[in-house]
């Protein structure tokens, strides 16, 4: 397989387009699953619902709240989709990447963490108790999954001997990381769901707090928040492919098509979990995160480090 290379500048413009298509597909699949669970027939309108909803939100009037902190609210709302697109910049499509950063894995993590600040600001900004509670919930939940998430990324970087995504793909020539880092892969998927406050981790926008962060948002603001959440889920699904599933490696088909196939499969799995698993209480997830995920991911990192040492580390610092 040819190594991942930096694409021409215009590929940067392609990233948001592809990510939006992927996110729309994921949202449509979620609608299909919901319709099936409700016993409704799956028609064209179910499939088109995310697009129709986006259009409706675009023309809907913005709600304004007395004494809201408009600066922080707007910043937070805009940052949600922007962070998702920036995170996806380092994801290679087959053998081409829009941005071949030498520290792509750290970059991806940094852009994910922007979500913390963004969602908290969005929750705070509307001067609504529900929004504030939702923002706090998102950050509190973050304390449970962020360390396992980082350990999962560190495990990949250790196995690859590189912090670049291209390096991670190159290191999987032969054996995919998911085979000998299954715990890191699972931790990555769990935190991907949690970072996009989806499925079992949707307490930040929970019904018990009247929609939480979303409570006071309507119109284009709501579209940016809801769309941004799907964009980030799609970005995380796409990132899991170069990190754990060998990037564009695969028989017969070209690299870019394998990347798409794997990304769609991972996104489908995430959406399925999102639709089928009930919301997990934050305190229970805190216990799971600290007592199960952190020890397991640490052990996984130790194991990978020992394997890397045993087979003779590639030259350190050759990032």
């Amino acid at each position: 397989m040819s190594p991942v290379q930096q694409g021409p500048l215009w590929t940067v413009l392609l990233v948001p387009v592809l990510l939006a298509v992927l996110a729309l597909g994921g949202a449509a699949f979620a609608r299909v699953l919901d319709a099936r669970a409700d016993g409704r027939r799956i028609t064209g309108s179910v499939l088109a619902a995310p697009l129709a909803e986006s259009g409706r939100l675009l023309v809907q009037q913005r709600r304004s709240v007395v004494a809201s902190d408009r600066l922080l609210a707007r910043t937070g709302v805009v940052l949600v989709p922007v962070a998702a697109v920036l995170a996806a910049l380092v994801v290679p499509l087959g053998g081409v990447t829009a941005s071949d950063l030498s520290v792509g894995i750290v970059w991806f993590n940094a852009m994910e963490v922007v979500m913390w600040a963004a969602l908290w600001m969005a929750g705070w900004g509307t001067n609504s108790v529900w929004g504030l509670v939702g923002g706090y919930r998102f950050v509190v939940q973050g304390l449970s999954y962020e360390l396992p998430h980082m350990f999962a990324l560190i495990t990949v970087a250790t196995g690859a001997g590189s912090l670049s995504v291209a390096g991670a793909v190159a290191a999987q020539d032969g054996l995919w990381f998911v085979v000998w880092m299954p715990v890191a892969f699972v931790a990555f998927l769990v935190s991907a769901l949690a970072l996009s406050f989806a499925g079992p981790f949707d307490t930040a926008t929970g019904r018990d707090v009247a929609g939480g962060v979303l409570a006071e948002y309507s119109g284009v603001d709501r579209l940016l928040l809801l769309g941004g959440r799907w964009l980030l889920l799609a970005a995380a699904a796409a990132m899991s492919v170069p990190l754990f599933l060998g990037g564009g490696a695969g028989p017969l088909l070209p690299g870019w098509l394998w990347t798409v196939v794997k990304t769609v499969a991972v996104l489908g799995l995430l959406v399925w979990i999102r639709s089928r698993v009930a919301t997990v209480r934050m305190d229970r997830f805190a216990e799971f995160g600290w007592m199960v995920l952190i020890p397991l991911t640490l052990l996984q990192a130790l194991l990978v480090a020992l394997v890397v040492l045993a087979r003779g580390a590639p030259s350190m610092g050759g990032m």
Binding site: D69, L71, L72, T75, L101, S102, V103, V106, W107, N109, A110, V113, V114, W116, A117, W120, M121, W124, Y136, V139, V140, L143, E146, L163, R281, M282, D283, R284, A286, E287, W290, M291, M316, G317, G318, M319
Partner: protein, 191 residues
């Protein structure tokens, strides 16, 4: 003569001015949330010039750590330090005369230093991996010592939290350590 491309020059000055402006904003705004995120913006502006130096790892890491740190700080500051939930207007300025003197003095010392120091000229080419070179220049042969100290510090933090915590496993699981689920004041089995 060091040649600096116009592009990186523009980025540097935008970040420099941005860092100062948002830094001033920390003390001018009347809300804890705005002060926190103004400080975060200032840190991010300060981290970007690291990228210009080719220290991409350090630059991105500073951004990552500062976002996490400031968000967690916002939560705790607003919960614990400010009057009702941090929702009331507040000011970050305390001991105005003293801090003005200290800040002015520090700025004067550092500013004079910039012009007095005999800055070295570049010899040769920059290392291929600047982050690695910087780490070696800073730590040199003390790398192992510093790593051990890091572990020691972390172990100290964990053990001091464990020692300071008023409740132990006997409070949680009973005298025979068999009580399940644990009897916790806060659910989640970590309290």
């Amino acid at each position: 003569m060091v040649t600096v491309s116009i592009f990186s020059g523009v980025i540097f000055w935008v970040c420099a001015v941005g860092a100062v402006v948002t830094g001033v904003a920390v003390f001018r705004v009347d809300s804890m949330a705005r002060a926190t995120f103004a400080l975060l913006a200032s840190f991010v502006f300060a981290a970007t010039p690291l990228l210009l130096l080719g220290l991409s790892y350090l630059g991105v890491l500073v951004v990552l750590m500062m976002i996490m740190e400031m968000v967690v700080m916002a939560v705790f500051m607003i919960m614990l330090m400010m009057n009702p939930a941090g929702l009331m207007p507040m000011t970050m300025v305390h001991n105005q005369r003293g801090s003005l003197l200290i800040a002015g003095g520090t700025f004067a010392v550092l500013g004079t230093g910039v012009f007095l120091v005999d800055w070295p000229q570049r010899r040769g080419e920059p290392a291929p991996d600047v982050t690695f070179a910087l780490g070696e220049a800073l730590m040199g042969s003390h790398m192992l010592v510093m790593l051990v100290i890091g572990l020691g510090l972390f172990a100290t933090i964990v053990s001091s939290v464990v020692l300071a915590h008023p409740r132990g496993r006997y409070d949680r699981f009973g005298d025979d350590l068999k009580g399940r689920p644990a009897d916790d004041p806060i659910r989640g089995s970590i309290g």
